[in-house]
């Protein structure tokens, strides 16, 4: 910082710049040296695993040469494509349910005038959003499992037999219910700033100009909110798509999702097949990169309305 002040002086005045410029260059190198540990760490443990996964997916397991065999195997087996289909459907459905209901609830939360109540509910949402993985799966088994509390209560009080109707917590729609549990509070936390950023003056101006409440929502609020809502939904999608522990603890690998399939291939007791695992992993990354790109674009657009 001292050398920076010096540098400013150098650019303003012009005396004796040669040694000072050298000192500034040295300081610049020192400035970069602070970043070395972090950047090196990211290279070793974040970027290289990605490179190696891509490399592994393109390598022939036997000869070590370049080949597309892993991808051919990916597309040849219906169960692999089925896993992608299930994962995308699960993520899409839970992101849409969580996104829609969560956004409306976030508006309800933002409209609360009692500050303490809003803070309390927000804290509760952070807890619920962090309550995932194995414990969440167990909680839902205790709630909606075959002998779960709600299942038994519905059966004995309302004579409604969920499992007789074909519902199962261990199958697709059961998993949707479990995922929605962490998607909803996440969406609320993610979009709350967008709703609190809606200025009352906008609504007043719109109404004064003759808009109906519905017209205000459709023409003013929604266009402002839209990028935040899409960004939130994208985050939920990525969140569900990469989730492993919840589904694993719930169904013990009996549901065909991409993360579970990868785990089976690289961590299985029977055979280890890194090539196919890598190809599936690359498929996940490509899909998620699109989602994350959309997320950042939308976030950038949303920040235009939130920066005061």
């Amino acid at each position: 910082m001292l050398s920076q002040a010096l540098d400013e002086k150098v650019t303003r005045g012009t005396t004796g710049e040669q040694p000072r410029r050298r000192a500034w260059q040295l300081a610049g190198l020192l400035a970069w040296s602070i970043l070395v540990p972090f950047l090196l760490f990211c290279l070793l443990f974040e970027l290289l695993p990605v490179v190696i996964t891509i490399q592994g997916s393109l390598t022939n397991g036997g000869t070590g040469g370049l080949s597309l065999a892993s991808y051919q195997r990916l597309f040849a087996q219906a169960s692999n494509l089925r896993a992608f289909q299930n994962s995308v459907a699960l993520s899409l459905v839970t992101a849409l349910i969580g996104g829609l209901l969560g956004a409306v609830a976030a508006y309800g939360l933002a409209s609360l005038r009692q500050g303490w109540l809003r803070n309390l509910l927000m804290s509760f949402c952070s807890i619920a959003a962090n309550f995932a993985g194995v414990p969440l799966a167990f909680a839902f088994v205790a709630t909606l499992g075959v002998t779960g509390f709600v299942t038994v209560a519905l059966r004995s009080w309302l004579h409604l037999d969920l499992y007789g109707l074909g519902f199962s917590i261990y199958q697709f729609w059961g998993l949707v219910l479990v995922y929605v549990y962490f998607q909803l509070p996440l969406m609320i936390l993610v979009t709350l700033p967008a709703f609190t950023g809606l200025r009352p003056e906008w609504r007043e101006a719109a109404i004064n100009l003759g808009a109906s409440p519905a017209g205000y929502w459709w023409r003013v609020a929604l266009p402002v909110l839209f990028p935040s809502l899409v960004a939130g939904t994208m985050l939920l999608f990525a969140n569900a798509f990469g989730a492993f522990a919840t589904a694993y603890a719930l169904a013990q690998g009996n549901i065909n999702l991409v993360p579970i399939l990868i785990d089976f291939l690289v961590n299985g007791n029977v055979t280890v097949d890194f090539g196919l695992g890598d190809a599936l992993a690359v498929g996940m990354m490509v899909l998620l990169l699109v989602v994350v790109a959309l997320y950042t674009t939308m976030l950038r657009r949303a920040s235009r309305w939130q920066g005061r």
Binding site: A5, L35, L48, P49, V50, S111, A142, V150, Y181
Partner: protein, 312 residues
């Protein structure tokens, strides 16, 4: 708004009352609050049901014998200790790696900011299962001896893959957890640095004779303490519940114990879920004093980049 209404009323406009009603009627408030109540019910019912289910035991109501079995199990304490150690190690490493870097970038190298943003965003596109698959091959599998990998890592991967097994520590797991926690920890620290005037504080410290490290430790750190605390607690609670990577790396951690014991006895599983919930509760409650100033202003946090933490 009020003055506007008053003006209209004085002007004897025929639709003054109607306008006032329309101005105060926010529109869609009732359905929104209804949705909020619905969501809260959805979040509360499983918790309550789990508590009741756990307490009702296999031998009737209030039977805590299964919890006694759990507490008497040496594996319970051993895995809990392992996870606590992993979580503490990851938290320290995250803070140590991130704080000087983010501070330096904010202060001197704003050009590097997009790179940091991208590095902190990448874990969203590389879920733990993919990261773990890559790491397994990098340090344990075929890629260890690949010349390309050695070149790209400046020769560090072959070196590290020899060191990691020798240390008999789940060091690789800690490093992987750092990456998993990176998005949330980075956002928390970066937000708190954005909220203070780093440049003015640093220049003031420099004019009083403080060096770089002293400025960071004695001037910047006390000012961004809430952000550091949030980052630490998010990292801690994420590692405490993480199953994917631990299972890939064959490390016997608390979530793996949880999964194994819970599968046999749903009542015990419910009690363990309640215990885990209390642990999450403690971590989040620790964050409340830290997040309050941020939430009351509501604008400093970019939407959703902190709160997306947690093991999935």
């Amino acid at each position: 708004m009020r003055s506007l209404i008053r003006y209209r009323r004085r002007g004897q406009s025929p639709d003054a009352g109607q306008l006032r009603q329309r101005l105060t009627n926010e529109g869609g408030l009732l359905p929104a609050r209804l949705a909020l109540v619905l969501v809260l019910l959805y979040l509360l019912i499983p918790l309550a049901a789990t508590l009741v289910f756990g307490l009702s035991g296999s031998h009737g109501w209030g039977d805590l014998s299964s919890l006694g079995t759990v507490f008497g199990d040496p594996d319970f304490w051993q895995t809990l200790l392992t996870s606590l150690g992993l979580a503490a190690g990851t938290t320290v490493l995250v803070i140590l790696l991130l704080t000087p870097t983010v501070y330096q970038v904010r202060l001197r190298l704003p050009r590097v900011q997009p790179l940091l943003d991208a590095l902190a965003l990448l874990p969203f596109a590389v879920p733990p299962i993919v990261l773990g698959t890559g790491l397994l091959q990098e340090y344990n599998g075929a890629a260890t001896n690949s010349p390309l990998v050695a070149l790209l890592s400046l020769g560090l991967v072959p070196l590290l893959s020899n060191i990691f097994p020798l240390l008999d520590l789940p060091l690789l797991l800690i490093c992987a957890y750092v990456i998993v926690a990176l998005p949330f920890a980075y956002r928390a620290i970066d937000n708190s640095l954005r909220a203070i005037n780093v440049r003015v504080l640093t220049e003031a410290a420099a004019s009083l004779g403080a060096g770089w490290w002293r400025t960071l430790l004695q001037v910047i750190l006390p000012n961004i303490w809430p952000g550091i605390l949030t980052a630490a607690l998010l990292t801690f609670s994420t590692v405490m519940g993480e199953l994917t990577l631990a299972s890939l790396f064959n490390t016997y951690t608390f979530p793996i114990y949880l999964n194994m014991t819970g599968q046999n006895d749903p009542h015990r599983a419910a009690l363990l879920a309640v215990l885990s919930f209390l642990l999450t509760l403690l971590c989040v409650l620790g964050m409340v004093p830290a997040t309050r100033p941020r939430t009351s202003r509501g604008q400093t946090a970019l939407p959703g980049q902190i709160e997306g933490a947690g093991p999935r």
